[in-house]
């Protein structure tokens, strides 16, 4: 909506009356004045009555209601402006001393003129005529000499103080029609800005300048009182002036007394005094004024008219005061608005340069927010960076936390990977949906963040296998991603068997990978659930929340629940996941020492930190989880130290060089990274106070999290006689050694390996479900692919990142200037893994290349020459051009050399 200026100046106030009309009115006004002077001189009886009984008592009301009207038609201002209009003014600038004392002159003239009425002007028409004509001449003379209105109207005029006092908050705004253009002749000019002028005076930095004006406000009621309480002819002239002076002093004294003791802002008291004066004046003159007008119009006044008008004025005054107070507030608000901060020309050039480079426009609905982003960024990054309401988890299209609907130009987004398609299918969303973390922008797009009903289209593919119809009931233990994926695939392939999912946790499937958000964010579980509640209902999957599976009886094909109930099954899928590994640490379990695996853990950490005003935290373990937890606590405002037992961070994902880059970044963020540090014990009386390291060092802390790995939940299986190692041992069909029982996810051990990764859990669960129903799918392992979910670090690790065989080729490329680093491990011409630091847009490509197992072919030659551009054609061109230091080596030995070099530098 469009705003109007606070206190518009006269050029911003709409003009309704054309200049011609004003000019005509001015001619009339001067003519009338001359007429009045004539009357006064030659018919003093009538002249005096007209002047003192009608004209003078009417003016204050005009000042009060529409001061601009008077400023435009005042005969004195007309006289004053004649030289300007006809171009014969000398246009001088008022000398400084006159600028200061002109107001005092005007005020003094008024203070002398008013008592003199009793001695002279009230009775002597000629004297008034001379006064009138003399003033006209003075105004004209002022205009002859000085520029603008500074020769009279905004300086010497004795009526000016009254106009400003009564007209400080005009009811009707009428713009100045004299000054065209403004020549800036007066300070805080009333004609320039009628609403701000008086306030600006009150708040002027010059103590004297504002003091004169405040003095007038204080003195004026005294003047009025003294005038109307005079009984003419009762005292000598000296006594009269003396009494006036005395009353004025009393009035002013009271003003400054109140000014000192009333705790109100500055302009309130002057406003109150102004209304006091006005009402006092009309208390005295209203009866006469009413009678005079009635006489003029030849009417007989009704008795109640005077009190009614006086009452009306009081009401109007109260409204006026309220407005004045509010204006003062607004004035102070605007005048204390901090000075604006500008930019240097260099900065403007940089802005212009960035502007010229363009950028892609991403429009978010609802709200029509337009972001301009760099090509290659994901929609998730763009949305997050701009504080849009979006959740995230895996940041690689697996979890389904961040669906968005593409409204326009879907083809301007990077193509979908298989994982992303599978996730969208699991979510049951249709055409137009993308996972924001996977959709990289390549052109202008328009997307919606709201779960758009239109795109929700449940697509259940027809059964792909011949299901065993004898299966009536499938029981799944665990409601994590493995359990839910299994349930989903069982239902997709077997439309009518009963599916029971047992969940120890009290939540429907939520995004475990995003639970660190529960630590620093305030929206708790909202947004963390990955399926709508009706998802289970729609698929006729019954869930037992907050319920444990206690034992399995494989012979009876029965499972016992913690509630004492028994469930029969035809097929059982164990998706019990894992829990945090707790290393042997003395005293662990002391309040404040804990782990992070479940939503409840994260919420408890947040609660604990608040309850005990935690300021410092220590994380044991520099792996993915440890760093993500550290970042979450950092965002919560804690001082965080990460202790890593080994020589480098993320030892399972990064080589030494990349870890070094990461350490530098995290340290600069404010995380303290301590290497070769292992916790021996935690200490504290009631709750944790410090941790003690194996080497004897002690670190004070309010919170300690251990994040050193996972421990698969195998107890249930082991008790039932199922073969277990680290996890529940499964074959390549995800079957355990007992018929009818399968396992998947973090709980499963395949070829000696527990993946502990979301994508592995999804794939395994799908295979377990299909095979349980009689299908025949084999699992060949998952290429681990992980990203660190810490803002600003784009580090990704895929597959094998260190050479293992002598013939392995390693390609390394460093860009020190931008702290970027990438590495590929190639075996027999096939990429088996690599590391990307600072190349987020290449992550998907690398994962795809490594998974595909396809030979590099011509790209290999290019790589050997140090040319990466072919391989990562998606990379933003800017980055591959400004390659800094280029290190390209092609044998395992050389790669080790680089690593040695970087370790050396560290020492």
């Amino acid at each position: 909506m469009s705003a109007s200026p606070l206190f518009p100046n006269y050029t911003q106030i709409p003009t309704r009356i054309p200049l011609r009309v004003w000019q005509a009115l001015r001619v009339i006004s001067v003519t009338l004045t001359l007429g009045v002077a004539y009357l006064l001189a030659f018919h003093p009886e009538q002249g005096l009555a007209l002047f003192w009984k009608i004209l003078v008592p009417t003016l204050p009301l005009v000042f009060f209601a529409a001061p601009g009207l008077w400023r435009n038609v005042c005969p004195l201002s007309t006289a004053n402006q004649i030289p300007r209009v006809f171009g014969f003014t000398r246009g001088l600038t008022l000398p400084v001393w006159l600028k200061e004392y002109a107001f005092i002159f005007g005020m003094a003239a008024l203070f002398v003129a008013v008592p003199t009425r009793h001695l002279l002007f009230n009775t002597d028409g000629r004297a008034v005529a001379i006064l009138l004509l003399g003033t006209l001449a003075a105004a004209l003379f002022g205009g002859l000499l000085f520029k603008g209105k500074s020769g009279w109207c905004s300086t010497f005029c004795p009526l000016l103080p009254v106009q400003r006092l009564y007209g400080q908050t005009p009811w009707v705004l009428i713009p100045n029609s004299h000054c065209n253009p403004c020549v800036g002749c007066a300070k805080n000019c009333y004609d320039f800005n009628p609403q701000a002028a008086y306030l600006a005076d009150q708040y002027d930095d010059d103590l004297h300048y504002r003091g004169y004006r405040r003095f007038f406000a204080g003195a004026f009621p005294g003047l009025i009182w003294a005038y109307f309480t005079t009984i003419p002819g009762q005292e000598t002239a000296l006594a009269l002036y003396g009494r006036f002076a005395f009353t004025v002093i009393i009035s002013t004294g009271l003003f400054f007394f109140l000014d000192t003791f009333l705790k109100v802002t500055r302009a309130k008291l002057t406003a109150i005094y102004a209304m006091g004066s006005l009402n006092l004046f009309y208390w005295f003159v209203m009866p006469g004024l009413v009678a005079a007008y009635a006489g003029l119009l030849g009417l007989k006044p009704v008795e109640w008219l005077t009190p009614a008008l006086q009452g009306g004025l009081i009401v109007a005054s109260i409204g006026w005061l309220a407005r004045s107070f509010h204006h003062e507030y607004l004035f102070r608000r605007a005048a204390t608005e901090p000075q604006t901060v500008g930019l240097s020309d260099t900065a403007k050039r940089a802005l212009a340069r960035q502007d010229a480079q363009g950028g892609l426009q991403v429009t978010f609905q609802p709200g029509d927010v337009q972001i301009i982003a760099q090509p290659g960024k994901t929609l998730l990054e763009v949305a997050e960076a701009n504080n849009m309401p979006i959740e995230s988890g895996c940041r690689m299209g697996m979890c389904g936390a961040d669906p968005i609907t593409v409204l326009e130009n879907g083809d301007h987004l990077s193509p979908m990977s298989d994982e992303e398609k599978a996730t969208i299918a699991r979510l049951g969303r249709g055409e137009g949906t993308r996972m924001a973390c996977c959709a990289r922008i390549q052109g202008h797009v328009c997307v919606s963040l709201s779960a758009d009903a239109a795109s929700v289209a449940v697509t259940v593919p027809p059964p792909a296998i011949a299901v065993d119809r004898a299966i009536k009931r499938v029981v799944i233990v665990g409601n994590g991603i493995a359990g839910v994926t299994a349930a989903d695939y069982v239902r997709r392939n077997h439309p009518d068997c009963a599916i029971e999912v047992i969940s120890r946790e009290a939540h429907h499937l939520y995004n475990r990978m995003a639970i660190t958000r529960l630590i620093y964010g305030r929206s708790a579980m909202a947004g963390l659930y990955l399926q709508p509640e009706k998802w289970y209902e729609e698929r006729k999957i019954s869930v037992w929340l907050n319920t444990r599976a206690l034992t399995i009886d494989p012979a009876a094909r029965q499972i016992k629940l913690g509630t004492g109930e028994y469930l029969d099954y035809d097929r059982l899928i164990l998706a019990t996941g894992s829990r945090s590994l707790i290393p042997p640490i003395e005293n662990f379990g002391l309040p404040g020492s804990t782990v992070l695996r479940e939503a409840e853990d994260a919420m408890a950490i947040r609660g604990f930190a608040q309850q005990h005003h935690c300021r410092a935290a220590v994380i044991g373990g520099g792996g993915l989880l440890g760093l993500e937890a550290a970042y979450a606590l950092h965002k919560l405002g804690l001082r965080v130290a990460v202790l890593e037992r080994g020589e480098r961070l993320l030892s399972r994902q990064l080589d030494a060089r990349a870890a070094e880059f990461l350490t530098t970044y995290l340290s600069a963020l404010g995380l303290q990274i301590v290497l070769s540090a292992e916790v021996q014990a935690v200490h504290g009386a009631e709750r944790i106070e410090s941790v003690v390291l194996k080497d004897g060092r002690q670190i004070y802390t309010d919170l300690f999290l251990t994040c050193v790995g996972i421990n698969p939940n195998v107890e249930l299986a082991r008790q039932a006689g199922i073969a277990t190692g680290k996890g529940v041992i499964v074959d390549d069909r995800m079957a355990t050694n007992i018929t009818g029982i399968y396992a998947a996810g973090d709980a499963a051990e395949f070829q000696g390996r527990v993946y502990g990764l979301w994508p592995a859990s999804v794939t395994q669960a799908e295979i377990a479900a299909i095979n349980a129903l009689g299908g025949d799918r084999t699992y060949t392992g998952t290429v681990p692919s992980t990203v660190l979910k810490v803002a600003g670090v784009d580090v990704a690790s895929v597959g094998q990142f260190e050479p293992e065989q002598p013939a392995d080729e390693v390609f390394v490329h460093e860009n020190l200037q931008d702290t970027r680093y990438r590495k590929l491990v190639v075996r027999d011409g096939v990429v088996v893994g690599g590391i990307l630091f600072g190349y987020p847009q290449d992550h998907a490509t690398l994962t795809a290349i490594a998974k595909s197992g396809k030979p590099l072919g011509a790209n290999l030659e290019a790589l050997r020459k140090g040319d990466w551009s072919e391989l990562f054609a998606n990379s933003d061109p800017a980055s591959s051009q400004k390659t800094g230091a280029l290190v390209s080596v092609d044998t395992a030995d050389a790669a080790t050399r680089i690593m040695l070099r970087s370790t050396k530098r560290k020492n």
């Binding site: 909506m1 109007s4 901060v341 930019l343 260099t346 340069r353 970044y665 404010g670 600003g792």
Partner: protein, 159 residues
């Protein structure tokens, strides 16, 4: 108090009355480019509201193109403009530092573009270019300090 905004007499406007504070006056163009690469660019259309009074959100805004106005919402949906922000000005620096609620609404007068440095982006900047981040903070501190001096000078003059 500074009421000069209400009395912008035309003849003064040749030379901008109050020499505005300049953000990072010494920073070179390359460093500016780095700093800008950490900001979020947001385009706005005339009439669009960018900040609402009372909102919280720690971000610094750099107006690239276009003009914005600072307004105070009044009764009956009326909006009073108390300041203009043209291209090449910075705002929101106070909330960026103290995280308090915005004290006025900011809306667009024309189409244009702002660059937003959120606290999070700033952290990333600090992670990548600690020296630049330090300069930014020092300069924000300098600006606040100058303002404080001005406020103290006003107070000293008996305002």
């Amino acid at each position: 108090m500074d009421a000069s905004g209400f009395f912008d007499y035309p003849q003064d406007s040749a030379e901008p009355a109050q020499q505005a504070l300049v953000f990072l006056p010494e920073l070179g163009e390359e460093s500016w480019a780095i700093l800008l690469s950490f900001t979020q660019r947001r385009a706005f259309r005339a009439g669009e509201e960018l900040l609402h009074i009372g909102d919280t959100g720690r971000a610094l805004y750099i107006v690239g193109r276009g003009t914005l106005e600072v307004v105070l919402p009044q009764k009956r949906g009326r909006l009073l403009r108390i300041a203009h922000l043209s291209g090449g000005t910075v705002f929101g620096e106070q909330a960026f530092l103290d995280g308090q609620a915005r004290s006025a609404t900011v809306q667009a007068v024309t189409d244009g573009e702002v660059h937003i440095l959120s606290l999070e982006s700033f952290e990333m900047l600090a992670g990548r270019h600690p020296e630049l981040a330090r300069i930014v903070l020092m300069d924000l501190g300098r600006i606040l300090s100058l303002r404080l001096r001005r406020a103290i000078a006003m107070a000293a003059k008996g305002l």
